[in-house]
């Protein structure tokens, strides 16, 4: 066990898997000699060589396209996209090829690519370093989509993602790389060392894909969320003095419907929170699914707290970010509904 922040936990996951499985290779912009702009691959090229930790041309579509070919030839590529905001040039390869290869070839070909990408806002990164595009990927059939909310989960889920023979899009909420940000930019940042999930085993372990985590238990309300918003929700619930289940979805696809509906059937009230814009965001699917499964148990409308429907605005970051105040307002409205 060590104290790790999320960067160290990701680095450790990569290290452990590369050690264990010589077919695992890393490909991405600045990931090699430099160790990545967020340092997630720090030290790995020195340890595993230039042929397993490979600096790539600046071409996200080329990185994903060649990773597919690498995977077809028996290696297990982990591609880093420097920011989730830059994944779009690679979308065609993800949508048309990576997601469908196994299906279209009748199960005979597949490519076990994992794509890691730092996502989310709260770092004054403006529109090109703050996006949360996860919803787009959850509409695809054939890729799994994951977003951890702690170092412990990040390592365990990343190991599962890499070991999975299905392609996985692994989003890393970069705002919580260094600590469990609670949504208040004016407070000093808490480091992971103060958080139980900052305790991470040094060696191998894994967390299965497809299982949500109940991170807080209560019977008055269910809050369903993921990524950075898990911590914002926890803080809001503390301040609201409401007894809430807080569920960290963790794996967006395949979704652990069971854990979600169990909670909502119990509480009868549900709030969904994410950073991405609301309209057609992943919260829409969560809301629709829960409504379908739990309709007769609902005592108030399911509400969504999410980013506004604008591009991510640099100066208005804290008005845009769905912080504690917005979650509190959501909780209030749900609890007051009759």
């Amino acid at each position: 066990m060590s104290q790790m922040n999320m960067i160290q936990a990701i680095n450790s996951a990569l290290d452990v898997v590369m050690e264990k499985d010589p077919t695992v290779i890393i490909l991405g912009e600045d990931v090699g000699y430099f160790g990545g702009v967020f340092r997630c691959t720090d030290g790995l090229q020195a340890k595993y060589g230039e042929h397993r930790v490979i600096d790539a041309p600046i071409a996200e579509g080329g990185i994903i396209g060649s990773a597919i070919g690498i995977g077809v030839n028996g290696l297990r590529p982990v591609a880093e996209i420097q920011f989730a905001d830059y994944i779009y040039p690679g979308l065609d390869q993800i949508i048309s090829e990576l997601a469908r290869l196994r299906y279209r070839s009748g199960g005979e070909y597949f490519s076990p690519v994992t794509i890691r990408a730092p996502c989310g806002g709260g770092i004054r990164g403006g529109q090109t370093h703050s996006q949360s595009p996860e919803a787009l990927f959850t509409h695809l059939s054939g890729v799994k989509t994951v977003m951890p909310s702690s170092p412990y989960d990040a390592k365990g889920l990343l190991i599962s993602a890499i070991e999975s023979n299905d392609p996985v899009i692994f989003f890393e909420p970069k705002r919580i790389y260094n600590g469990p940000f609670d949504g208040d930019p004016n407070k000093p940042a808490t480091p992971w060392s103060k958080h139980p999930a900052g305790e991470v085993p040094d060696g191998y372990y894994s967390i299965p894909l497809g299982e949500a985590a109940v991170v807080e238990e209560g019977d008055e309300l269910s809050i369903i969320t993921y990524g950075t918003m898990v911590h914002v929700a926890q803080a809001a619930v503390r301040n609201a003095g409401v007894k809430a289940d807080i569920i960290d979805v963790r794996t967006l696809v395949p979704l652990d419907v069971e854990t979600l509906t169990r909670s909502v059937k119990k509480t009868g009230r549900c709030l969904i929170a994410h950073e991405a814009s609301r309209f057609s965001g992943y919260g829409a699917e969560l809301s629709a699914t829960i409504q379908e499964e739990c309709f007769w148990h609902l005592e108030a409308p399911i509400e969504r707290v999410a980013g506004w429907e604008t591009p991510y605005p640099h100066a208005f970051e804290w008005d845009y970010f769905p912080g504690q105040d917005r979650i509190l307002a959501g909780i209030r409205s749900i609890m007051e509904a009759v």
């Binding site: 290779i25 042929h51 397993r52 790539a56 041309p57 071409a59 579509g61 080329g62 396209g65 060649s66 990773a67 597919i68 070919g69 690498i70 995977g71 077809v72 030839n73 028996g74 290696l75 590529p77 040039p89 065609d92 390869q93 048309s96 090829e97 290869l101 196994r102 299906y103 279209r104 070839s105 009748g106 199960g107 005979e108 070909y109 597949f110 059939s141 054939g142 799994k144 999975s164 023979n165 299905d166 497809g210 395949p254 979704l255 419907v257």
Partner: protein, 414 residues
Amino acid sequence: MTSKSRLHIPRPSARPGEAPDFSYLSLSEAGAVSRPATSATASEAEYLAQNLVRVMDDDGIAQGDWIPDLSPEQKVEALRLMLLTREYDNRLQRAQRQGKISFYMQSLGEEAVSIGQGMALEAGDMLFPAYRNQGLFILRNTSLVDLMCQCLSNTRDMCKGRQMPVMYHNRKGNLFSVSGNLATQYPHAVGWAMASAIKGEDHIAASWVGDGSTAEADFHYALTFAAVYQAPVILNVVNNQWAISTFQGFAGGERRPFAARGQGLGIPGIRVDGNDLLAVYAVTQWAAKRAREGGGPTLIEHVTYRGGAHSTSDDPTRYRPKDEWQAFPLGDPVERLKKHLVNEGHWSDEQHEALKEQLKETVMAAWKEAISYGTMTEGPMLDVSIMFDDVYEEVPQQLKDQCEELIALKGTLS
């Protein structure tokens, strides 16, 4: 506004009703282009992109440095495979017209590309074909019945009913899954070759795109990655002059040959007579040897002509002269190899006709067997639960539920 326009709009040399005109095609004499060592630098090999490597002259006589070391038997086999491909195409084209399959794409006139290249490569080399490379599948012993069953989406379909016709694959034969999206397989080939290099293996990869598809991003990605990592890969551009209704000028072919596209990255390019099986074989062998020796990627442009319609959905008489193929200066690859073999005394008109007849029967027999596994309209049918398999390695709960829902629904209906 338009009267003053200075935008250059590429124009094909002839439209329907006009006389075909291939004067834009720059040709070299058979044997005129020399063969550099496979260890030549990219600069030393640069002339290969500007000329046209040809082996067989108008009389079918092999000329020059590039004459490949192929036995008469091998050449007859190549002829047989080209004819078989053509007969296969014939059969499936007709099947589509009869409503037995939903769609089809012929490789008429381009058979030498797949057969010549396939023969020059080794079984362990991995091929990433485009939709007009059926010859590669035939050459690598994919059974005709299997190919036909794919087109029929029937109970023996290798794609389990999930793909349109011609989107074959052959795992054992090292033939990748054909995609309906243009050029996407190009970076896959490069990645595969990178992995081969990483593992220190000798196998190389090869891939194919059409002239029109070179405008796609994946073409650029593939060339860039191949150049940066010196991946052992052969990247082919099959320039059949047309991309549906637009001629190759709309892909930027007006000023420079496609073979030159990698020059800015130091990738040697070879422009080859794509209807000359011997030349195709020879340049492929050169590129493969070079790649295996660590010399990195080669780009090969095959100058050929799309003899048929783009697909069964297309009517080329709307945009090009009806008789354009007949005027194509590089002729028909089958006729050219036949002439060569006849000239060399290894083949005759009678043998040729007999072979064609025999292949026709082979194909017809395969077809009869294939349709016994079902057609689009007539039984046996694939079990519908197969629709939910292979989206993921294991079927997730949600898909199991959907499968059940569908089966229950079908139950209430029948």
